[in-house]
């Protein structure tokens, strides 16, 4: 008789709630002819709120469920929260966007929620297969979302590119997992950790680890596995680009960290060097390429590559404070980047016609509030105090210095000085240049105004009073070490 694994639905309740919300959105969409967007959005938001509530107990847990497939701990709690917040904000940002684009699609929210389910399983997975299933669930949903703009060839092209490269990276990931299984006889993170601690690590296992590293690097868009990023970010609908740049990145980094710190920590000497090189390449290329962009979505795509580089610096440090720095950084980055993409969505107008940097000329005069919000996000991305982005960089860099990586940090700060140039260029366009023709005024929808005010306030608040959030991050990474 096959033993029945103990079932602990309580632990995966947040993911279940979101999944049910996704199904509901899909079902109700069938019966609602007009206003499907509102219905979908409301279901999604309610789902997110309930999920946030049922997520709370996870904070105090430290156990695994489903025969060690899923880890229920503070780390999962933290990332679930990040994912839920980014889904919620994305829904708020998307509402008016969908109406404006003439996309009365209820599936949009259903797919968005399904991708969140994938993310939540990915961050809680403590078994390589579980992580893979989560990764695939989220990826497939995101491929669809990327190609959602009907009749827009750029969007379809982006979707196909993402699908092909994503499938390739998934294949590498799976192959790596297979090799690791061959070497150690286990796919669970605990079993793998035991194998790596045993001292006799075969070459096959090391190759497997390397392939996992490549797979994760694809998902977090680290150089040289970043090729898909600019095109996909450019082609996808703006709110989805924002969602990808924070949600997918956070989920991928969560699993990346969990796998590498929990299983391979005894091989850290080996992979830390690789991460070091990846971080340097990512920071340099991301920042330099962003300088020459004239399209804001591509610029933010390269900037998100660069931010992956800073996060890798924290990983190279390999200490609990480095990991905590990454968690705080992702928290700051989610609010900052979603805020920036909210502005990009608004300025983009119908058909995403205005996504060039020049379209931001004169925004400071015609829409002072919007320009102020965008400036705050850009300062945060550039790491200027007193914003969340500054504290994020500060935590990561200080952890790296504490671990002795002074040169890595020097490269990091110099590239971030270069980043000031392109972030400030947007500010320059908004405040110091005049548009050729006075554009029509933009309408704030209540949901967009709500999303923008939340993001602005959080970016400033956790930048000025970061204590609580830094403690949360420190507490959350304890299970990894």
């Amino acid at each position: 008789m096959i033993p029945v694994p103990e079932v602990n639905l309580g632990g995966v309740l947040p993911a279940l709630v979101i999944g049910v919300a996704g199904l509901l959105a899909m079902l109700l969409g069938l019966f609602v002819r007009k206003g499907a967007v509102t219905v979908g959005a409301v279901i999604g938001l309610v789902g997110v709120l309930i999920a946030l509530m049922v997520n709370a107990p996870l904070r105090l847990m430290n156990t695994t469920a489903f025969s060690g497939m899923i880890a229920l701990d503070t780390y999962t709690w933290f990332f679930n929260m990040l994912i839920l917040v980014s889904v919620g904000l994305t829904i708020l940002i998307s509402m008016k966007y969908l109406v404006d684009q003439g996309l009365d699609l209820y599936e949009y929210f259903a797919i968005l929620l399904f991708s969140a389910v994938g993310m939540m399983f990915m961050v809680s997975g403590s078994h390589l297969l579980m992580i893979f299933v989560g990764l695939e669930t989220l990826s497939i949903a995101v491929y669809v979302l990327t190609g959602l703009l009907p009749g827009n060839t750029k969007s379809s092209e982006a979707s196909l590119k993402y699908l092909l490269l994503g499938a390739f990276s998934s294949g590498l990931f799976l192959y790596g997992a297979a090799l690791l299984y061959g070497a150690s006889g286990s796919l669970g993170l605990a079993g793998l950790a035991k194998y790596f601690q045993s001292g006799s690590v075969s070459l096959m296992a090391l190759v497997g680890m390397g392939l996992l590293l490549v797979g994760f690097s694809f998902k977090v868009a680290a150089v040289p596995f970043h090729m898909w990023t600019p095109d996909v970010y450019d082609g996808a609908p703006s709110p989805i680009t924002g969602f990808m740049s924070v949600g997918v990145k956070a989920a991928a980094f969560a699993a990346f960290l969990r796998v590498f710190f929990e299983c391979f920590s005894s091989a850290q000497v080996t992979w830390a060097h690789i991460i070091w090189v990846l971080a340097v390449l990512t920071m340099i290329l991301g920042n330099l390429a962003a300088i020459v962009q004239t399209n804001i979505k591509r610029m933010l795509a390269y900037s998100s590559i660069a931010h992956a580089g800073y996060i890798l610096v924290g990983m190279a440090a390999g200490t609990p404070s480095g990991a905590a720095g990454i968690l705080y950084y992702l928290l700051a980055y989610i609010f900052t980047n979603l805020g920036a993409f909210a502005v990009v969505t608004m300025v983009g107008r119908r058909g995403e016609a205005n996504i060039n940097l020049d379209d931001y000329r004169g925004l400071g005069k015609s829409h002072p509030t919007l320009a102020l919000a965008m400036s705050i996000f850009l300062f945060s991305l550039a790491g200027i105090p007193p914003t969340a982005g500054f504290i994020g960089k500060f935590t990561i860099f200080s952890a790296a210095i504490n671990a002795g990586y002074i040169w890595l940090v020097i490269i990091g700060v110099l590239t971030s000085a270069a980043s000031v140039f392109y972030y400030f260029r947007v500010i320059m366009k908004m405040y110091m240049e005049a548009p050729d023709v006075e554009p029509e005024s933009l309408q704030f929808s209540p949901s967009m105004a709500f999303a923008l005010s939340i993001t602005v306030m959080v970016v400033l608040y956790i930048g000025i009073f970061p204590t609580t959030y830094l403690n949360l991050a420190t507490e959350s990474v304890k299970t990894l070490f």
Partner: protein, 531 residues
């Protein structure tokens, strides 16, 4: 500590409050906006007078200290306080606040709301830099003031090249300050690992003896940040652009206060934290300072634009400040601090004067003018006095500063001082020559015939500056006395700490683990082993 006063926090954040109020005022009433700003600046100044009169000038310790935990897990606190060194700079900043607002009353007519908010934010950043006693807090203020200055130059600057000048200013400053941030972090961990107390508290870090080899690198990073800000030759190239393109009050604040943040940084942070490196590097720093003095003067001489001329004269004057400071004698340092104030007053006033004439004629080319003293007699009086003060005429403020600096540095850097003294002569050449070409002779250009003399507002702008120019020149003791204990303490501290570090290095290698740990090679294996 009982009897904690919140005066310094009030002074720092009142401009922020003002900016918040302005945010809710209709942009259609620029008069209200201006009034709110100037009232706010005046309140700030009056409060700083309480600090001045409540300041005990017989002791060298920090006064008006406030301390609250901010990010306790990293040992970061909100800690502010002043001593004799920062007192005068704080006063200078708050004193210039209302003057600057009054000066731009008619100059700035577009986007007044944003302009006033920028000015107030700038004030917060500048005051914050001078009062903070926590390295993290200092860094935050140091960076914050970058944004309003960037906007001042970029939005209200000269249309032709403002964008270039603005981004150049930001990039120069930020490269230096980010490297300084790395150095701050290295110092933090070094002190933490060796003493067990992780803190960004400046006064505690003062007592930590940094090994000589590490001092060199850390000092280098701090030096870069501050030298760019001062600016010292050869890091000065952003300055003429920023000054020329900025609106008048932007130049005034830039010259009068922002540049002082660099020199203040040396005296508050770089030298006392890393005394061995500072003394060892003094020879080189002074070399750059003297090159700056002479080079700045020579380049100023050939300028055709009055504002650019004054900008280059700043390079020269700040060379003196650096010379006096690195002499590390009581007179040298006192002269250096007084010279910071002097430069703030005289160069600030000269920028205002150039701005006034620019408002009337919309050109700053020297060749466009001539015989202005006939048309604008009152203006000529002010211009003359500030020119003489900038040259260093006895009886006016510039003389006191330069004299003390030369006196203080002669014993240590005899030849340098001789060369530096020639800068005083060159200053007389370029300033007087410009004054002569602009003000004297016949009115050759018919456009200048009907220029209006300065009005009451402009007199009100210049008179307070004039009073202090004369006051410092005639009776400098008012200003020297409060700083004396602090300056003596500063020099003693530098010497003591230097001796202590040297002794520590020589008396064996007991501190070697720290040196090793901070060695600039990253080594993962070591980290692993430690864990």
């Amino acid at each position: 500590m009982e009897n904690v006063s919140h005066l310094l926090s009030l002074i720092t954040f009142i401009p922020l409050l003002g900016a918040a109020i302005i945010l809710f005022i209709n942009r259609e009433c620029p008069e209200t906006l201006r009034w709110v700003t100037i009232v706010c600046m005046l309140v700030d100044f009056v409060l700083s007078l309480f600090v001045y009169f409540g300041f005990d000038s017989s002791i060298a310790t920090m006064q008006f200290v406030e301390r609250y935990p901010w990010i306790p897990q990293w040992g970061i606190s909100y800690k502010v306080g002043i001593d004799g060194i920062s007192l005068l700079l704080l006063m200078l900043t708050t004193f210039l606040g209302p003057i600057v607002v009054l000066a731009c009353w008619k100059d700035i007519t577009v986007r007044v709301k944003e302009f006033m908010i920028c000015l107030l934010f700038l004030q917060v950043g500048m005051i914050g830099v001078f009062v903070s006693l926590d390295l993290f807090l200092f860094y935050v203020f140091w960076e914050i003031m970058l944004i309003p200055m960037y906007l001042l130059i970029g939005v209200w600057g000269n249309p032709a090249r403002r964008l270039y000048a603005a981004i150049k200013f930001v990039l120069y400053t930020i490269v230096g300050s980010l490297l300084m941030l790395v150095a701050i972090l290295v110092l933090y961990f070094m002190a933490g690992k060796s003493t067990g107390i992780y803190t960004f508290d400046l006064l505690k870090l003062y007592d930590f003896a940094v090994p000589v080899q590490a001092q060199f690198w850390l000092f280098l990073a701090f030096f870069l940040a501050f030298a760019i800000k001062v600016p010292m030759f050869p890091f000065h190239t952003w300055l003429p652009d920023a000054h020329t393109e900025a609106p008048t009050v932007g130049s005034v604040v830039l010259a009068a206060v922002l540049l002082k943040m660099g020199t203040y940084g040396f005296i508050r942070f770089a030298i006392p934290l890393f005394p061995n490196a500072a003394v060892d590097a003094a020879w080189w720093v002074v070399l750059l300072a003297v090159i700056g003095i002479i080079y700045g003067a020579w380049v100023a001489m050939v300028q055709v634009d009055m504002k650019r001329l004054v900008a280059f004269s700043s390079v020269s004057h700040l060379g003196f400040v650096m010379l006096g400071m690195f002499a590390l004698t009581t007179q040298g340092v006192e002269g250096s601090i007084i010279q910071m104030i002097n430069h703030g007053l005289s160069t600030g006033a000269l920028f205002l004067i150039v701005g006034m004439i620019y408002e009337r004629r919309h050109t700053r080319l020297i060749s466009e003018f001539g015989g202005i003293s006939k048309v604008m007699p009152l203006f000529a009086v002010f211009f003359m006095i500030f020119t003489l003060s900038s040259i260093g005429l006895p009886g006016l403020n510039g003389f006191i500063g330069e004299f003390l600096i030369l006196l203080g540095s002669f014993a240590k850097f005899t030849w340098y001082t001789v060369f530096a003294a020639s800068g005083v002569i060159f200053a007389a050449v370029y300033m007087l020559w410009m004054f002569q070409r602009v003000m004297f002779g016949e009115v050759t250009n018919p456009k200048n015939l009907n220029l209006k003399d300065i009005d009451l507002r402009e007199v009100a702008v210049l008179t307070p500056l004039l009073i202090f120019v004369v006051w410092i020149g005639v009776y400098p003791n008012t200003f020297l006395k409060p700083m004396e204990p602090s300056v003596k303490n500063f020099i003693q501290h530098v010497e003591k700490k230097r001796a202590a570090v040297t002794a520590m290095e020589e008396s064996g290698k007991q501190n070697l683990p720290n040196v090793e740990r901070i060695s600039l090679v990253s080594s993962v294996t070591k980290i692993r082993a430690e864990r």
